[in-house]
Amino acid sequence: MTPLRLRLGWIATAAAGAAFLSSCDFGGVTEVARPPVARADVTLTFTADSLPEAAERLGWGSAIPGAEVAFARDGAGPEDVLTATTDGQGTVRFNDVPVGTYRVSLSRPFTAEEFEEVRESGVTGVADAVAVSIQGPTDEIEIAPVPMLQRDLLISEYHFTPFFRSGIGSYQTGGFLELYNNSDTIIYLDGKLVGRAFDPVHDATPCDWTPAFRTDPAGVWGLEIQQFPGSGRDFPLEPGQLAVIATDAIDHSEFIDELLDLSGADFEFTGPSGPDNPGVPNMIDVAEFTSQLGHGIIYNSLTGIPFVAEAVDLDMVERARFLNQSHHLFRIPRDRVLDVAAFYTTFPGLTWCFPFVHADFNRREAPYLPDGGEGSWLSSINRKVALVLPDGRKVLQHTRNSETDFSVGERTPGWIP
């Protein structure tokens, strides 16, 4: 033990000394002592193991060529992100980088031509983000990124950050959820479910109370659930078409200038109070919990776990109460879940219990703007576009990872930016 302790002591002393020296201004001296930080040469190889058939049809072999790779040390700012494009062997190199933990992000959507080639596979490309530990002096790491799946009905936009004035109050009912038909066939919304999953994930509830609802591979536990009206074929959604579901489907800019006109929304979450737009069909409340204001579903402004599911009879599914609360939570079975997204704010001082849902539904939550930050209600969370087909139709990215699939952007109800 003694030698190790000595060694650690020496390192600490040296590091401190180096830090001191590096912080001094020696005037004309150009050679200054550099801290003895270990460095590494890194080779990253991206394999096509997760989409062998498509890779073979596209002639990629076992590697992923032409993928944009971002390589950033933990805590690095945007200006310190290194980027490169994979070569024909799916490889990129980053030389002489400090050792440490890095995040590697990769995105390689298919081109429209490539997609035509492999269309029946339902894969639209690959994308992923993983953390790797670089120890030096040479690191060779192989990564098999997750395929992007076309899927059917996707959550394409989520906007629920309330208009907020410190010390005054908030306007919480101006939000909307947008769904997109990412498939190649008509989807009928009739009877499908839209919900808010159980989300007591901030400091108020100890994390070890909630894993039964957060990490259940058998399904997603819904707190507020509303169902599309219709008798089967009343509400078709063409490929590439969107449906906007507003909490209150009204022109909110009538009341607060900066808010959206949602009077043209396709559906309105139902609630016993709040304005009811007779021109917009109401969703049907099928669960037991109702948001406090009674305007319909309002996602928690600190976390959001929206989901879409096929029609399910809630009387037939597992139900449970959390801490004997008066309402039940309903488990939407995994084979009925169409899409789940998970978001959390980066509001300072709050800690979260991850994951929000089992990794089979979402592998990593997407951070979004601090709640209540000036103007944060002007932003929205949008699903990224994977590729654009020759007819102009956009295919959205879906890798079961909200962090990589979504980005913070403009509010665009009814269209894909």
Partner: protein, 937 residues
Amino acid sequence: MSSQRSTARVVFAFVSVLTLTGAGVASAQDATVTGRVLEQGTGDPVAGATVSVEGTDLRVFSDNAGTYRLVNVPAGTQTLQVQRLGYAQARFPVTVPSRGLVELDLPLATRALELEGVTVTADPVGRARGELGTATVIGSDAIRARTAASLAGVLELVPGTLLQPPGLAGVQQISLRAVPATSGGPANLGMASPADLASFGTLIVLDGVPVSNNANLQTVGPRGEFAIPSSAGGGIDLRRIPATTIERVEIIRGVPSARFGDLTQGAILVDTRAGEIDPELLVRYDPRSGEVTLLGGTAFGGNHTGTLTMDVARTRTDVLRDDQAYRMSGQLSHRAVFGPPMEGNRARLTMDSRVDYFRMVDDRPEEPDLAPGRAISIRDQGLRASTRTRLALSDASTLELTAAVDGGRQRTFRQGFRIRAAMPFTDRLSEGRSEGFYVGGQYLSQLWMEGEPWQVFSRMEGSRKARWLSGSHDLRAGVELRREWNRGAGFQFDMATPPQSSFNGVDGFDRPRRFDEVPPVATTALYLDDRMTFSFGHDVLLQLQSGLRVDLLHDGSTWFSGSRDVVVQPRLQAELAPLSWLRFRAGAGRVAKLPALQHLFPAPQYFDLVNVNWFANDPAERLAVLTTFILDPSNPDLGYSRADKAEVGVEIGLGRDGGLALVAFEDRISGGVGLRREPLSLERELFQLADSTLGTGTPPEIIEPADEVDAVPVLLDRPANNLHLRTRGLEFTAFLPEIRPLRTRTELQGAWVRNRLERDGYEFSRRFSDFQMQPDRPRVPYWEGAISTGERAILTSRIVHHLPAVGLVVTGTVQHVVRENRQDLNRADSLSFKGYLTRDGQLVPVPPENRANPEFADLRERRVFLVTEPQKIPSDWLLSLQVNKTLPGDGTLSFFAFNALDRRGRFGQPGIPPRSHPRMQFGLDVTMPARSFVPWM
């Protein structure tokens, strides 16, 4: 309950035995106290000094040789008080035997601080005049030696009171024998805490006339969303009484005599400075506060004395903002004495008249950078005229008439931005259905509350000294008439921009309300009181005070109206002094407090139910139809809160100036006024619509009659005598004799108080609003009212170092909160519900053995907001310093440092509430006789 009874039983047994044994002994022979009043230092006689016996009417003047002679002085430990213009007032304890002569010379100094034995803390074994109950008496020296901006600062000398920095920040109230209240906030919102009940039940008597807060309506009510600082619902705001103008404060912590009513807790008797006073200027400064007081009094026309006091004070209440509070107050007092003096130098006719004025302002101007829109302005002022006429009918009989008129003018303004969701809305002021409109977004709301509380008080009291049944008796009988009302324009706002912004489609917004529509409240009280003194042998002395008081609340606005509630209140106190240095004391009795006007005549409650909600994109096509229900929450059965009080104590003399006092007490308030939530059901009509095609440019029409009617449950907040507070405690004060070589004495004061508050009534699920709005939810659980307990023990040690030769007093105060706990005693598990509420407003109890049955699974809900595990706040302490020093020219300089070590307290942790101490503050006072810098005075 049982211990309360047993305590009372012990007290009555004690008193009965003593009364019976006392009946056969020799009659009391009061003694004579005589001596000379001399100037300290020179030994010159002081002529014309007033020498009086505290707690009695005995009063004489010293002659040219300085000699005084007081006859018929009651036996026991008495205090002589000496006053003479140009000298500091002095007090001298004296032990008076049952007969014989006591000689005592009384030295006077020009400045109190140069006087041996000056008392700068409260007198622990003092008695309020004419009272036998446990009391704390704070004399003028102690008041002068404190840096206090108001009466609240003076009352910190009462055991169990938390130290606060001097200043005018925040509403200041006092709760005797309870966890002190610092604001009336919770009471405004209908959740009265033990401290609120105690503060509301503490009677303040200013110069012999009660000061009432009963007609104060400056509150936003139970649904209010704007927080407004107000003393409404609690005791008066003590900031209106400047400490610098107070002569003496008597705090009756125990059972007051039958003379005092409208209280549940205790009585605080405040006398302001009046009489011949050398003009005096006091200037105080600390970084947050400043104060200037000017006072003086003079004799004129032979029989008259006039006194004028004026005070201006200001505090910056928030150092980061421009918030400030200031006070202006003044008093003009006049005393006229007529007729030849009678025995004991009592005048034939004495008239004391006072006119008081105060103006208290809290200003929190808008600061656009910090909080746009937010502004609060509170302007309270009051003018009171009172007169007390005392007519000596004979040497033994006196008639006293008191009359007072007290008028206030309260102006509260609060504005702030609110944000509301888009919603259907109605501004209808009457019951019925009408078309509403849609509102939403951010708006500036402004609220005005204009109150003008008035009180007329009159009392006629006859008193007579007599001797029978082997004892001397001081008999008093009186009648009190009182009327209180409010003439203000009331609670006013523009209905388009209400101070509330949350509306779930069921509970409505409050509407404006005029206070002058609230009827006046008239009360009558009668009382009879006898203070008896018996002596046994040479030293053993027994004093009893027994009385009966009847308070009557009229059901109309005059004293000729019938009776709404009557409370008969027997009271009894006893004190036995078997030895000159030992006193045993006991007391028991019932007291009662009138409900406040806001509870006797609560504001109507509005419920707006949405019948049609048609928010078309074209504003011309929109239709909102709402039905307004107005429910009257007043409670014809609401009456007095009653409290049964009992206490036992012992007082032990320790040498010349030491003493020890210990008292155990139990107070039981039954029927304290709170808000009881009553479930009701309203019928909502749902309509079919005609002409409902969109794009026509006209709204649809409803088709009468209603297609469907559903039941909407609501909760009405009805004032009720539903709070039951039991308080037990121990108080002790120990004055240790002065350590002469160090010129230092120590005082220890402790108070341990435990409260238990029960609320009759039911509590409903916090998801009640979901239940209201969702017709498919058939029921919700309800629980029994909460039982909350709280406990606190405070130990205050004062070390007083006094050097009379240089007129220096240094007081170090360490206050140690030794113990502080709270806990709710109800169960909170999911089977703790009592039953369920149906949509039609019925409460259906579920027997405990059935609550686990599957059919009640939907009712199993954890009860929230209860502290089921004991919550202990770790003990903590702080130190404050006070230095007083005489100045050349008969002035005094004082320095104070509150929280001198700047202790900050602790942050909260899970399960452990935080404790935060006010930050360190320090400052200076200078008092100067005006003649020292104004030559002609």
